[in-house]
Symmetry: C2
Subunit: 309 residues, 2 copies
């Protein structure tokens, strides 16, 4: 298999694009294709301030790298959730944070760090232990905490948009879950771009058209150091099962994952109209000021105990 651009030996084959590329041309193509995605979904401009949510993994650091190379004003935010993997004796969050800090230092970029143990007195595992969901996986709580803090920082520090490193495998797995249950509201609101609405910052997923293997290849070829290990809480998650199933289909019919996601986005316009928005919330939490449905203290403030503070 030869590189489509130069005819040299290809390093990566991308059947969904009917294309193979050598290392150099792949490294050039990833930012180009990201730029096309940013423009296609009108995500943001070079005049706007972007906050990149970085976890220390391949996707989010690749995203930060690409946006920086493309000349965007992109700062980072890392949320230290205090996750430790006892099985591997791994300070997962500490290690993740170190990769984010290293990337920021090497590239002269600004990184905001929020440590939830310092700020709210508990790690994710401790919140999970205390809360009503104590026996469940902490993933739902973790998502809530991250969404809340990211939105707060973006709002307080005047960012125009929050960019996350979701790749096509992530989006396809989420879509698969929403489709298995046919939750119409979730199908209506799953989008590469959610415009700002009533106190929620605009959210964009510039890597949403890359397969996971491509973001991994990009990070590796660029020499970006990132945390290889999955979050210890992710083991057995439904999203991982859905990714495996979609990969089975992809193996048999290359392009299936891409078609599933891209055809959905077209169908979504037909079904719901052009403009995708976040679910509007008219009320605001009296504790933190963020939007809520009820006008009571928001789920985050109830959970962290900030209501009592």
């Amino acid at each position: 298999m030869k590189c489509k651009k130069c005819g040299e030996r290809a390093s990566i084959k991308m059947p969904q694009h009917n294309m193979a590329l050598c290392g150099d041309h792949f490294l050039a193509w990833v930012p180009e294709y990201t730029q096309r995605t940013i423009e296609k979904y009108r995500m943001f401009t070079r005049e706007e301030k972007i906050l990149v949510a970085v976890s220390g993994g391949k996707d989010s650091l690749a995203l930060w790298d690409v946006l920086h190379r493309l000349g965007y004003q992109a700062d980072g935010i890392y949320i230290n959730l205090g996750i430790i993997d006892p099985q591997n004796d791994l300070a997962y969050s500490a290690k993740s944070k170190a990769f984010c800090s290293q990337f920021a230092d090497q590239n002269g970029l600004q990184l905001h760090i929020v440590d939830i143990k310092e700020k709210y007195g508990e790690t994710i595992a401790e919140i999970n232990q205390r809360s009503a969901h104590g026996r469940q996986k902490p993933c739902a709580i973790c998502g809530l905490v991250k969404r809340h803090i990211m939105n707060q920082i973006a709002h307080d520090k005047g960012y125009d948009v929050l960019a996350t490193g979701h790749n096509l495998d992530d989006e396809a797995a989420a879509l698969f879950g929403n489709t298995l249950n046919w939750t119409v509201e979730m199908l209506r609101h799953q989008s590469p771009l959610l415009p700002a609405v009533s106190g929620f910052v605009r959210k964009a997923k510039p890597l949403c058209r890359f397969y996971e293997r491509e973001t991994a290849a990009y990070a590796l070829m660029r020499g970006i150091s990132y945390v290889y290990e999955e979050c210890p809480y992710a083991a057995g998650a439904r999203s991982i099962q859905y990714k495996k199933l979609l990969n089975q289909l992809e193996k048999r019919s290359p392009g299936t994952k891409m078609n599933f996601y891209v055809h959905f986005l077209k169908a979504q316009k037909e079904l719901f109209g052009e403009e995708q928005t976040a679910i509007p919330r008219e009320e605001h939490c009296p504790v933190c000021g963020q939007p809520t449905l009820s006008g009571q203290a928001c789920a985050f403030c109830r959970m962290t105990g900030a209501v009592k503070a």
Copy 2:
């Protein structure tokens, strides 16, 4: 596990209904639940004439049996496609036909038989060999032939509705395929009931809420003789791959298949409105008189060469 109705030892467990039943209560429950499905989707009444499409397999013979027991006026139609499985030296269609005839005789029911080799001069394999699709599987052609003939017979002999034995696994697999491609028109028109429209007879799927293992269990427990073998052309079909994937999900989360299908039907109403219809065709084929999109000879007449006759 005990029977929910009588407390005796259960023969079949149906986690999606949170229920297990003994053999006797299962045999009573299948017609009851079919009747509820018929009423829920307003499929047909006992005053109407029903044509049951029978293939000799478990689903269609179970359907005929159930409708007959429920007191419906249900005749059968068997289409002899002339399928032979050379690998197993099996006259597949001949064997299937024998099971249908046997069932009709045992129950004193009327069975229409259409032999396509006799009527059109070619078997499915021969049509496939001759047509432009010669190198492909004949499944698309077979579907076209069956739909055409069933509609013709239903129309000519004055039946009100055509009933097919599609079970939930069939419907969920078709839905899965339509969802992977997000073909909105297919999603709009996949329904347990398609009302009559412009020359197409009404179509109903009264077994659409039974898992395949339940229709198989019913046929076995009732002592209905049916062809066990899959159609030799079915091997490797996408629908079979989708059924396997859905069964993987079902194994991990019992009820997934049922939720996928039933939640879809609810979402369909929300997305497309209450009334489901077949895609209307305003024109009619000048050869056979059946509805077409173009007003030219229909795909069936072009394929069988009836145009020249």
